[in-house]
């Protein structure tokens, strides 16, 4: 009897372990598969997109940033005007200018410098200017350096330094500061080097922050874009340029006046004060409203170009 008592629990435990093991080991094998064939092939053509007006944002930020800022506004404009509008993404400033020239962009949102080029070259027509978050319809450029760079205290110290700018077509990020340097007697050849960051404001700030370059030039307000990426307290603003007319919406001469008018009206109809959806659209686009504009607003830019010797044709 004693023998049986002592053997039973051991046998039961062993059996249970083995049973549990078999069950557990079987668990992973019960995944059911759906049977399909990879042999049934068909050539699939891209379904052609319906014709639409194209809307492009001068690629000073990444495409995703551009998309996130503007897709609500694009949807709003399409909705308001009943037109089919699609956002397109040029890779560079030049790309933007070329696409506009090729008719691939109907509505261009660009800086005043690019606009002047578009207007001069392809007959672009300004319809609205944006009101910046500081309430102004103008903007200016900023010269930045690392806070701990003791060699640069004011604009005169920029001579002989390495300068990173946004793009040769950038207004706030290149032209405005260049005009400002010229006004202070510093010309392009006075810099040790001038490099461009490929049209990205963020890259200028990061280049200075990393210490790759002594000074950088950006449009005002760009620092807030990277405030969640770097410690912007380490960046010091050396100087600001004078104010220039701000970013502008222009339309292609191929676009009908009617459509342009509908679009302008829709822009001007945005009422962030009273319409939460409008405020949401404008918050995403990082400006607070529109003012009507025409080509003459941009003469100061033309003058600046002439001053620094840039060819706008």
């Amino acid at each position: 009897m004693t023998k049986r008592h002592s053997e039973k629990p051991a046998g039961i435990i062993c059996g249970m372990i083995l049973l549990a093991a078999v069950f557990l080991s079987a668990c992973g094998e019960t995944e059911e598969a759906i049977t399909i064939s990879l042999e049934k092939r068909e050539e699939i053509a891209f379904t052609l997109q319906v014709p639409a007006l194209t809307y492009a944002y001068l690629p000073q930020y990444s495409h995703t940033e551009s998309f996130q800022r503007h897709h609500r506004l694009v949807e709003y404009l399409a909705e308001q005007t009943g037109l089919s509008i699609r956002q397109v993404f040029p890779d560079t400033f030049d790309d933007h200018i070329h696409m506009f020239g090729q008719g691939k962009i109907d509505i261009s949102y660009s800086n005043p410098f690019v606009y002047v080029k578009l207007a001069n070259r392809f007959g672009a027509r300004a319809m609205t200017r944006i009101i910046e978050e500081d309430g102004r319809a103008e903007f200016r450029g900023q010269i930045i350096a690392r806070k701990d760079n003791r060699e640069i205290k004011d604009i005169s110290d920029c001579r002989g330094k390495s300068w990173v700018a946004v793009d040769p077509s950038s207004a706030g990020g290149y032209l405005f500061p260049l005009g400002h340097f010229v006004d202070h007697g510093i010309h392009l050849e006075d810099f040790r080097e001038v490099v461009f960051s490929g049209g990205r404001q963020e890259n200028v700030i990061l280049g200075v922050y990393a210490g790759l370059h002594d000074i950088g030039t950006i449009r005002e307000g760009s620092l807030s874009v990277v405030e969640d990426k770097i410690d912007i307290d380490q960046i010091r603003i050396i100087d600001n340029t004078r104010w220039y007319p701000g970013w502008v919406y222009a339309y292609s001469p191929r676009l009908s006046q009617e459509a342009a008018g509908q679009i302008r009206d829709a822009m001007l109809a945005l009422d962030p004060e009273n319409n939460p959806r409008h405020r949401e659209i404008l918050d995403a686009a990082r400006f607070i409203g529109f003012v009507p504009s025409d080509d003459r607003d941009f003469d100061p830019v033309r003058e600046l170009s002439a001053k620094v010797g840039l060819d706008l044709e």
Partner: protein
Amino acid sequence: MNNIFSNIFSGLRLKTKITLGVTVMLVFCGLGIGLILSAMSSAALLEEGRKRGMALTSGLAFRMAEPILAVDFLQMKNLIDNVHNQYDDVVYVFLTDAADNILSHTFSGGFPVDLLGVNLDGQKAQPLLLSTEAGLIYDFNAQVILGERNLGTVRLGLSRQEMDAQVRRQKQISLLSTLAIVGIGIMLALWFAHTVTFRLNRLRRSAEAMIEGNLDVQAGFPLEKNCWDIMACDRNECPAYKDTKQRCWHLPGTLCPDCSGLEHPHKMQSCRRCPVYRTNFGDEVQELAEAFDVMAITVKAHIEELTAREKTIARQQGLLKTIMNVTPDFITLQDRDLRYQFASKAFGDFLGLSEEDIVGKTDADLFSEHQADLNFHEDKQILITGQPLSKQIAVNRPEGRKTLHLIKIPVYDQDGGITGLLLTARDISILKKYQEQLIQSQKMEDLGRLAGGVAHEINTPLGIILGYTQLLMEEIKDENLTNDLKIIEKQTKVCRKIVADLLGFSRYSKSAIETVDINASLQDVIKLVEHVFFLNHIKIFSNFDENIPSLTGDIERLKQVWLNLLNNAADAIGQEGAIYVQSKLCAHRQRVLVSIADTGKGIKEEHLNKIFDPFFTTKQVGKGTGLGLSVSFGIIQEHGGSISALSPPPREYLPDDFPASVDFGPGDFGPGDFGPGTVFIIELPLEPTMESGRAPQ
């Protein structure tokens, strides 16, 4: 079936059982744990594979936002191909826009349209397992999300083959590892079983040696350090000192300072703190072996003690048995049911049975019905009353009538109850005989005194009668009267002879004390009768001890005794026979022994006690007066000796060749012609103890 396994299992050696048990446990546990771990790791590997696939897909989806926005088909294709080419197990990748248009894919030769029918919803649990011609494929769906906008979907197909191969490899490794661990476990089990069973076998061998009677065993292992080494002790008087067989904590009376004089197991409390115990105490098997050694020593001591006691008891038993067997008394012990528990050898011999035949039986089995019934009632009476019984009984035996003095006493136990009956019986036939002889002697003495008195009184009137008769004979001339007177004179003389004999028997006569040569006196008498006897073909042999010194006594009276005895012998023989006369000095008893044996008709046993009585005779009327032996008895008694008769004579009183001696004369007679014969034995003291004789008053 169970019984077969049980029998086979119980027949295995312990080492095999332990190894087998541990092996089975290891195999079960190893397989169990191995299978569980293998299943878990397989699941983990698959999960890892799924996560990897999901990560690839999500990463691709993240990177696809820009090219989708830029409608950069080249970049889309590059990104897709990059992933597809980089990993062998990525079967396919394709990208759709928000309207499910295929933007880019890695297939060549058309797109498998079945893929567009499955796993469309990226919100569902991913991946989806597809069974295809290329095997099992995990299909991953990751949406290209920007903000809240869905820009498109990346679908990635990851082959399960690589994962399954990994799982298989992992299972093989698991199996091999499990087998290796089980193998090592079995080796360890073997070692463990050997370690345990080695000591148990040692214990078993010790036990077997004990069964064979060898108690000088040691099951425990000798210690590396003994208590006197550890304690640096040199106290010879300590019982543990130099005792390598027993552990000091098992021994009483050890002299350690902490031992406190207690015995095992009471001293254990202090021993457990002792450095000796802490150094030398072992596991249960060692404790068992040591306890076994202690047991063996204790058992040995007990057995030696028991053996010594047994020897003592056996010696005493042998002694008792010898006493019981040697004693001529009957000793028996009966229980309350009157069954014999013990019977002495004498009792057995009396009944003609051995002790074994008697023990366990009752009187009904051993005696006649009448005797048994008598004994039963007698014994029961004693058992009931507790009164002992003492009596004499007469038993007829082939060798004659025996008188037994019998005592029966009850046997009491410790509580005072009667448990049985002890019987002792002694043959008092000899005593009885002596008693009768004593009475006879007394009677003879009284008779002698009476006869002497009577004879003395008669002697005087007889003298007067004879005197006057002789006077008358001288005076009367008448021949007839003279003849009558002569008859009176003759008969008076006969009477006076009888009276003189009576006076001789009663020693109312004078004795002449002088130095006597016994051998010479015997030879004188033999010479006197030899010739006469020869005429009757009776031959006399003699054998005299030359060392017999002279005695003090009355030679004539002694000669009368010899003559009486020789005449009696001749009378008993009648015609043809032999008489053997022997004298012998019994130096240590200071006595002379004379025996006169004959080949006559012998004396009947019942007459032996009476032959010395006056006037007792078996002779024909007129042949004897019956006073010869009485007178001889008186004479010998007067000399301080004794006379006795035995019939037939024992061999020691006869020569070796008697009566078939060649000297006897060939052809004269054969052995069958003789009677049983009689021997008369006379003992005379060397010292002069002869009574002076009681002269008549």
